[in-house]
């Protein structure tokens, strides 16, 4: 079989990215998991975090995309991620996030705090 995995990243507004990749590491709600071609069917919720996409081979990380949580579904046709919003990690602005995080902490908005912390973690890695 082909050594590539069909990968689709979909937001409610549009299909964000679709193509053949070597491996994708998904931040599942119960821990990260990597999906390689031929992965067993599974379905998982996603916590806010970065999806790592290894396009050419499974050793070189090519793209990282931050998602706000959502769903990942692996079936015989490939991996589909349903995310409400997605931003390339390179587009995240650390200064902005730091400010927003302070605001979220002040407001005691747990969801927002978790989200911004996850963003920071994504940038550091």
């Amino acid at each position: 079989m082909a050594d590539l995995l069909n990968f689709e990243l979909v937001s409610p507004e549009r299909l964000l990215s679709s193509g053949q990749v070597a491996m994708v590491v998904v931040p599942g709600s119960e821990g990260d998991f990597g999906v390689l071609p031929g992965h067993a069917p599974m379905m998982s919720t996603i916590r806010p975090g970065a999806i790592s996409i290894y396009e050419a081979d499974s050793n070189t990380l090519t793209r990282r995309i931050f998602v706000d949580g959502g769903f990942a579904e692996v079936n015989d046709k490939g991996l589909t991620i349903l995310a409400e919003s997605a931003t390339p990690v390179t587009d995240l602005d650390p200064a902005r996030i730091a400010v927003d995080l302070v605001a979220a902490r002040a407001a005691k908005d747990e969801v927002a705090i978790a989200r911004f912390e996850a963003m920071q973690a994504a940038i550091v890695n």
């Binding site: 689709e8 979909v10 937001s11 409610p12 507004e13 549009r14 299909l15 599942g28 709600s29 119960e30 998991f33 067993a40 069917p41 599974m42 379905m43 998982s44 919720t45 769903f71 579904e73 079936n75 015989d76 046709k77 589909t80 349903l82 409400e84």
Partner: protein
């Protein structure tokens, strides 16, 4: 017969009306294209969502333990009608058709002794109900600030509905909107959003393809947890789709209405011009007769 001056003024006024309707038609056509693109771009997500829901629906048993969004409250007494219409008029029968469908449903529910509550998204369908069933209206979500429907807007509506549901304000929710068939045809449609109807496996193309290779799917965390998270999302997706369809339908309907109006204005201008010319000739003839008969009398 109207005077020449009055006729001339009528013609000018109809001409400027025609200019306005023509411009509105063009604007609607441009917006329609964008709305259609947005609706198409949103399709992959809702299709995937439907297929995920379908495969979950095949494995999860609906019981009293199930999330309430799926299982319902076990009652069928209070119905919430969520009626999505536009914020602007001059869109032909668009808003009227949605309101009529909703009214029919409301009347049949009331006749069956149920309690009905109305929630409006967009103000145009609200006006006719304001007159007759003001006491049933529980809310109105203003959409006038929204230019292009985003998922966040749909989420606000879905959250509002969910909050009211959790608070036990109703048992069943229906959503009314106009399904976009083509620029000429928009179908007022009703769907039940709460309790969620799980699409049976095989109703979507994606699910059919998956049917061929039955595989044991691993769930993380587990089916119930996923379902509990998926249901509110699914609700928002359904609302989002309805809003997008509505946006396209509104523009389509407005385009057709304005096209008709432009044509009618053209007909009217022709008719008025003929009357104007006749009146002018009649006046000239009359003057000539006066001069000739004056000359003859000498």
């Amino acid at each position: 017969m109207a005077s020449l001056k009055a006729l001339k003024m009528r013609i000018t006024s109809v001409k400027s009306t025609q200019k306005i309707t023509k411009a509105m038609k063009m604007v609607a056509a441009a917006k329609l294209r964008r709305a259609q693109e947005a609706a198409e771009a949103a399709r992959p997500y809702s299709e995937r969502m439907a297929s995920v829901m379908a495969s979950l629906g095949a494995t999860v048993q609906v019981g009293p333990e199930s999330p309430r969004l799926l299982a319902g409250t076990g009652k069928d007494q209070v119905h919430l009608l969520v009626i999505a219409s536009s914020e602007r008029g001059l869109a032909g029968g668009f808003n009227t058709n949605i309101a009529r469908l909703a009214r029919k449903k409301m009347e049949s529910l009331l006749a069956a002794g149920k309690t009905v509550k109305l929630l409006f998204v967009g103000k145009k369908a609200r006006a006719p109900f304001m007159r007759t069933h003001k006491e049933l209206i529980i809310g109105y979500l203003d959409q006038s600030h929204i230019k292009n429907v985003a998922f966040a807007d749909a989420k606000v509506i879905a959250d509002e509905v969910t909050t009211r549901y959790e608070a036990g304000e109703f048992d069943v929710a229906h959503l009314f909107f106009a399904r976009f068939r083509s620029a000429l045809v928009q179908e007022p449609t009703e769907i039940q959003i709460i309790p969620a109807a799980l699409p049976a496996l095989g109703t979507t193309d994606v699910a059919v393809a998956k049917d061929a290779v039955p595989a044991a799917v691993e769930y993380e965390p587990d089916e119930e947890a996923i379902l509990a998270e998926l249901l509110p999302r699914n609700l928002a997706v359904q609302v989002f789709r309805a809003l997008l369809e509505n946006a396209a339908s509104e523009q389509g309907s407005r385009m057709t209405a304005m096209d008709n109006a432009t044509r009618n204005a053209g007909d009217m201008i022709n008719k008025l011009t003929i009357t104007y010319n006749r009146t002018r000739q009649a006046a000239i003839t009359k003057e000539l007769i006066e001069i000739i008969s004056g000359a003859e009398a000498l």
